[in-house]
């Protein structure tokens, strides 16, 4: 406690330097004056009295410095001084500063963007209660394991009936194999037609997810009802507070809105606008179109669930050999299951950005070495005047830190721009459940990497500059050690660049191959388009020859 208070006082001392110095000067003067008086009283002549008093006090300036150091934080004070000095010195070599900051901003920005993506796709918990207890269950064909792993509705019904390891199991229809919402529902009767993305869900879905609607209630088994996503409610119905109970026309069928989900909720991605119940239908083993999500019963492990589902799968194989002979249920943690498709691509991007960051650092290190060569004289003189190597090293590193901090700040701006650009130009790369948001973790990452960078690009050049010896080897040729550092740097840079180029080449290669897949028909001069016919009634009423395709 006492230490903390002393620390705070010293922190304040940083900003009251001159006032405190005056205070000390006054105090010392009064001390010496007392001493002179005493000496005079003892019978000394005035000159001698003054001399003795000053002598007995000891070094006035040194004592003052000791007190000031004690009153503030010398470490921080030096740091602030170095920062000011660094800023001035960077301002003098403007070209270097601009290039170095831009390079750093680029490198740190790319890393931050990548982290934003990783955070959104891989790490941020899904907005459900205890998301790590949720599993996705799919049906994999042993003979064609790469094919879509959706589930037939009759199998789902059997699983639901036979399993005991889940506290709830729910199915949903309306997501294609690339994870996109595929059911278009035409919303009519609000002055114009809007297309909403729909998801057909079992009535217990929200119970399984552990999320209650923001307004209204969940499904209770009735038909012709709908629950809206928060965004749909805000955007299509202007956040109408009386939306619950209102009847809307979806796909030509009147449906009652019974609830609105809370903000930030999505399932299984952010495209879905409206959740609707399945209505009356007979489960079959014809259409494999359901996704299945279940919650592990408390105390049940993933392994136990897998074991039971394997048993159930085996029993269904015997019961329905025609359809189920080669089908195995597969249980996966829900988050891992939806991430699975984008994980390899993300990992590759990570490594590419990591390499890019290394190249950026070595580039800036290189720039600094070049600059150091032109500052040899400055440092030689400072050394000759008594600056220690550690002191010079510290100052150079502070300068690097300053560069990095400016770069890091710009990088945050860049990351914001990159985020918008990614969503705009490459929405396919980002899974549609991911929310690319610059949150606290992203900012922490940005700060961490900004602080790490100076160690990577600053220490080498700083060491070699601080090591360069006195005024002696101030010549046209740069010292041997610096040349070696330089050689190492160039080597590393070239190696990293080659790796990056090869990676990029491979990436482009596979893109080109994708573009050139032989579809088995001539694609030149062939167009594909979609024509939405509004709701079903409209179609029936306007059966013109054109629509019928006559």
């Amino acid at each position: 406690m006492r230490q903390i208070r002393a620390f705070l006082l010293r922190l304040r001392g940083l900003f009251e330097h001159s006032r405190q110095e005056q205070d000390l000067t006054d105090e010392f003067e009064s001390n010496i004056a007392f001493h002179i008086e005493d000496n005079l009283r003892a019978g000394m002549p005035l000159e001698e009295a003054r001399r003795q008093a000053i002598l007995r006090f000891g070094g006035i300036e040194r004592t003052k410095q000791d007190c000031l150091d004690r009153r503030s934080l010398p470490f921080l004070e030096t740091f602030l001084y170095d920062l000011r000095f660094g800023a001035r010195s960077l301002g003098k070599s403007r070209m270097f500063t601009v290039v170095a900051v831009a390079t750093l901003a680029f490198g740190i920005g790319a890393s931050t963007t990548m982290f934003t993506v990783a955070q959104a796709v891989l790490w941020r918990p899904l907005p459900y209660a205890q998301p790590s207890r949720l599993v996705a269950i799919s049906e994999v064909d042993r003979l064609k394991p790469s094919l879509g792993a959706n589930v037939a509705s009759a199998d789902f019904a059997d699983w639901q009936r036979m399993s005991t390891v889940f506290s709830g199991m729910s199915a949903y229809v309306g997501i294609d194999e690339r994870g996109k919402a595929r059911i278009d529902l035409h919303l009519t009767g609000i002055g114009g037609t809007r297309i909403l993305k729909g998801l057909v869900v079992s009535s217990n879905l929200f119970d399984v997810l552990g999320v209650a609607p923001l307004l209204g209630r969940g499904f209770t088994g009735e038909d012709h009802v709908a629950i809206l996503s928060y965004n749909c409610w805000r955007n299509q119905f202007a956040g109408d507070p009386h939306i619950v109970g209102r009847s809307i026309t979806l796909g030509g069928v009147p449906s009652d809105v019974i609830g609105v989900m809370p903000r930030g909720f999505f399932f299984p991605n952010r495209e879905v606008d409206v959740f609707i119940p399945p209505g009356n239908f007979t489960p079959d083993r014809v259409f494999y179109d359901s996704g299945v999500i279940a919650r592990l019963r408390p105390g049940i492990s993933l392994q136990q669930a897998r074991a039971q589902m394997a048993t159930i799968g085996a029993r269904l194989q015997q019961a329905y050999p025609k359809t189920n002979a080669t089908l195995d249920p597969q249980v996966e943690i829900f988050h891992s299951a939806i991430v699975a498709t984008s994980r390899p691509a993300l990992l590759m991007l990570f490594s590419a950005v990591g390499i890019l960051f290394m190249i950026v650092c070595s580039n800036v290190a290189h720039l600094q070495l070049g600059r150091a060569a032109s500052r040899v004289q400055e440092f030689s003189i400072r050394k000759a005047l008594g600056a220690s190597r550690g002191r010079l090293l510290r100052q150079l590193l502070t300068e690097s830190l300053l560069l990095s901090c400016i770069g890091g700040l710009l990088a945050l701006v860049l990351a914001r721009v990159a985020r918008t650009a990614l969503l705009r130009f490459a929405p396919e790369v980002i899974p549609s459940y991911a929310d690319l948001r610059i949150d606290t973790w992203v900012i922490l990452f940005n700060v961490a990497i900004t602080l790490l960078a100076p160690l990577l690009f600053g220490i080498g050049p700083a060491l070699s500059t601080a090591r360069s010896d006195s005024l002696r080897d101030r010549g046209a040729t740069s010292p041997h050690s610096r040349q070696r550092t330089r050689g190492l740097l160039v080597g590393a840079e070239v190696a990293l660049s080659v790796v990056l180029v090869v990676c990029a080449g491979l990436l482009i290669h596979s893109f080109v191959r994708l573009e050139n897949v032989d579809l088995g028909f001539r694609t030149a001069h062939t167009l594909s388009f979609r024509l939405d016919l509004g709701d079903f009634r409209v179609r029936r009423e306007t059966e013109s020859p054109a629509v019928r395709g006559d």
């Binding site: 208070r5 001493h35 007995r56 000891g58 007190c67 004690r70």
Partner: protein, 116 residues
């Protein structure tokens, strides 16, 4: 390193001397404290007067002493230091600790009188 340790130890004892002086003399300015320490030690401690100031700064930051500018008996402005409540307690604690240490050390140096 050893140099550092020595000054460190001396600083510690110096702080204690300052506290003890303030306890017995009441509020006192820096010169008075230095003078008093010199006299009490029988002129054995001939440290420069300036050395007590860094210690005073530290003691004040830790709130063992408080200070204020005042006018002395012969009408001269001076900064007076006085013990705080925490400072008084510290003097007591340290004094007890010293006595203990001295007693223990004494037993080592007088081996004849070891208590059975």
């Amino acid at each position: 390193m050893t140099q550092q340790e020595k000054t460190e130890i001396r600083q510690g004892t110096l702080a204690l001397m300052i506290l003890k002086t303030l306890e017995s003399m009441g509020p006192l300015h820096g010169y008075g404290i230095a003078r008093r320490i010199e006299q009490t030690s029988g002129e054995a401690l001939a440290v420069p007067y300036g050395t007590i100031y860094p210690s005073l700064v530290k003691l004040e930051q830790e709130r063992f002493v408080a200070s204020r500018w005042d006018v002395s008996a012969n009408n001269r402005k001076a900064k007076y230091y006085m013990l705080t409540r925490a400072g008084k307690k510290r003097v007591h604690d340290e004094a007890r600790l010293w006595e203990q240490t001295v007693n223990i050390m004494a037993r080592f140096f007088k081996p004849g009188k070891v208590i059975a």
